[in-house]
Amino acid sequence: MKQYIKLFTFTAVLVASFALFTGASSALTGTDFRPGRIIDDVIFTNKSSMSVAQIQQFLESKVAGGSCDTSGTRPSTRWYTAAGRYYTHAEWGALNANPAPFVCLTTYKENPTTKQTNLGNPTLVIAGAQTAAEIIYNAGQQYNINPQTLLVLLQKEQSLITDDWPWLDQYAKATGAYCPDTAPCDAAQAGFGTQVREAARLFRYYMDTPWLYFVGNNYVLYNPNTACGGTTVYIENKATEALYHYTPYQPNAAALSNLYGTGDGCSAYGNRNFWRMFNDWFGNTIGPGYSYVTAVNPPAILYSNQIVVASVSIRNDTSLPWYSDGNVPVGEHPTRLAMLNYKDSPLANIADPAWLGTRNQIKMKESSVGPGGIATFEATFLGPLVGVRSRMEMTPVIDGVKFMPFIGMAWAVETPTLLLNYQVTSITGLEARVNGDAEKQITVLVKNIGTTYWYKDGASPLGAQPLRMLTAEPFYHLSGLATTGWLAKNQIPMQNNTVAPGETATFIFGIHTPTANGFINEKYSLVLDGKIVMPLNGQLQISSEVIDYRAFLLTENIPSNMIPGKQYTVSVSLRNDGSSTWYNESNVPTGGHPFRLVANSYAGSIFADTSDPAWLNTQNQIKMKTAVVNPGETAEFEFRIIAPYKRSFENLALRPVVDGLRVMDQSVSKIISIPQPIFSYGFVDSVNPPSIMQPTTESTARVRLTNVGNTVWYNDTSRPTSLRYGAARLIMALPYYRNSAFASSSDPAWLNTQNQIKMKTAVVNPGETAEFEFIWKAPVNAGTYADPFSVVIDGYVVIPFIGLQYNTRVQ
């Protein structure tokens, strides 16, 4: 059985604790009465507390017996000795000039202009009449007084709210307005409507224009009998001030110790009853001193290192001004927003001066906020670097004086478990192989896949830490590559102002590649500066191979002016200023790359003399002559170029190339001018055949001509293949390409076409003499023959006939 008792006791305690926890409001006691703060201004003047319908509902709920005893049939509390029973309401009312029917506030009507009422005639229809509820409501609206204040006043003065058989006199002095304690009531102010309106007006007047009592210290009597004494009361607000104007007495201890009864001969009950009835019917007369207006809430999820601004605005419902820190007059105290019981908030950003410096109080933004004014408490919150669930319950505090009651203002914010993850999206700007001693700009995109919030240097709010890339292995080592965009050569700031989880950050920085060949491999991580270094994830690194090729042009002898058709053998000398060895075609190691000169963009050059094996057939690359060129040595390129039969002004641009690996920046650049080609000749001498020949007889002829143009002539054998045409020949003329009867098919000087004779001289520069030697063979048929001829540059031009001609008679 003991077991059960224990179990039951535990259960009962639990249930009792729960009841306490859920908080049933405590019963009112006299010790709750505060003579200096009977009711708060905000409650006393809350004109919106009840609608007309609610007032009507309230009146109907409170009238004794549940309804008005209109006909007076209910018993009174006056004993009717003769009848051996209590008088009915009707009987006793009739005996005291208040016969039935009775009109309660639930059914009362009055025309506010004519003052006509339905008293004594409940069913009377009165044009323009208002109900008691309407009169009370309207008075409250007109003078900004809580209708509940007027309802309590009506009850405490004449019990009109609960009375189910009110008499006329109760209506006449319904609110006790203009009824001094020591003098009769002012008859001019009699009547329900007048009394209610005047009471509201007086309350407003007393609040706005006090003259007997003021906020501050006042002497308040206990009773009209001054011998009963009184005390100095510090009146805290205007509503209490107004109540003392209306009823200038405070309850004494006897009145308060018997809250629902009478005290002693020195007791006065007006303000006690007002306070008690208000509490009983409408709740606390003392508000929390403030009310919620608006807020800017923090997000439900606050990431680590994230800063947010949150604020709460509340109205000052007290009668005293609030002061912010730094603006407090002597003897006053600052008002702040405090965490309940000064419990520290893990999210407080104490770098923010809006916080007191502790984690539990936020300063008021305004320097001072008077009664009814709006105070704003704005501060930043910082997500900590640990996962935390925080519930911040807040209430204003008058520092050093008191906490104001908690009314439910709270923020619930969660910071997720700390994850420092990131994912590299891309790294651009650094090729797999790079030159040494080169500037590179690298762009790295990193996605935030953790739970931290990232800020840029300079854009990081107070208290948050900027996010940077930092060198790794070891962390914070000074990078030998660092150029632009770095901090102290070991950190790189983020470009974006903010990067939330799920977003991508950009880092841009420069590096200078090493001079020596080798590999670049630098690892990085991310750091919340001064707080925490994120672990390496193997993705954030730059890698490349440095292969250093650099050339310095020592000499070149490429002509600036070229004669059309002329071949030039030129040379270029480059010094190997890199750290790699250069090889020509014949000496390149297996897997290596030959070193050449290449025309810009690999385009074929018009100057390429591909009859020179130094040129590749592609007409765009020139082989190196030197077999192997070590760093510091000189490479020789020797090659032939040729001027085409074409007027031109061309740039011969050549760049060193490691074939298949690297085209270098250094280049040879030469502008070459070629004049308009002129083809012309002059007669020098000749050895002519006989003028009379026997049929089929032969004679050797020779003609010498001077090249008086500006072009170089080649014979069929010496003509460079890069000149597509251009062999100089004699051509039968008049007409050109006419076959000659004297052509010797056995003489190789003649073309098979029997109309052209090849030049004997291999190359004829301008001013030189060309020699043509050929067999002149008489035909079979007798006759007289004329054979004019000139010179042709094959494929280009036939030089005009200048009179050269053989006349031969065959007989």
């Binding site: 926890f21 509390t77 005291n96 606390n284 929390p288 919620y292």
Partner: protein, 190 residues
């Protein structure tokens, strides 16, 4: 058999206890979880009575009781009605009285608030005295101001008062009678 009966009782107790604990915890959780991220369902202030650790215990405001009235609510008025046949509507004259409720300096004027009892007419005689200074006297009429019997404003220019604490004395004269003097102090200057 006896053992089985005991076992049944024990089980019943355990089930009951579990139910009570569970329901208590659920209700407590629901109650605690009312407060959201400063999102008030009703901007009107409501005290949060579940916070037992508050420095001020709060009773709710504007919580209208629509329940029926108490029978005692009409006791006072019923007593008045029962004795209506003996009632004397004239208020009791408690005798002449003057009570200083407040003294202050406002806008360069010294003000003394006086609550008058026992009359609605007569004069108020004010005497301000301070050691080393001549007494200052002023007489004003008794008036009824919005239902309150009081003295007219005295309005003593503080230029006529030296700094310091002045004794204040008010005597009510009505007809041939005088009230007991009411006394207080007035602070002039800091």
């Amino acid at each position: 058999m006896k053992k089985n009966k005991q076992s049944t009782i024990k089980k019943t107790f355990l089930i009951f206890a579990c139910l009570m604990i569970t329901s208590g915890l659920i209700l407590a959780y629901l109650n605690r979880s009312r407060v959201k991220n400063l999102i008030f369902s009703d901007p009107v202030t409501k005290s949060n009575s579940d916070d037992t650790n508050l420095s001020d215990k709060v009773r709710e405001v504007n919580d209208v009781d629509y329940g029926p009235s108490s029978p005692t609510d009409n006791s006072q008025i019923n007593d008045q009605k029962n004795n209506a046949d003996q009632a004397n509507d004239k208020p009791v004259n408690a005798g002449l009285s003057a009570t200083i409720t407040n003294t202050r300096v406002v806008s360069s004027l010294a003000q003394v608030s006086v609550l008058i009892g026992g009359t609605t007419g007569g004069n108020c005689l004010l005497t301000l005295s301070k050691s080393g200074s001549s007494d200052i006297q002023k007489t004003v009429s008794v008036i009824v101001r919005n239902g309150i019997t009081t003295c007219e404003d005295f309005n003593i220019p503080i230029s006529s008062l030296s700094n310091g604490s002045w004794g204040v004395r008010v005597v009510l004269e009505s007809g041939q009678t005088k009230s007991k003097p009411a006394e207080g102090t007035l602070q002039v200057g800091s």
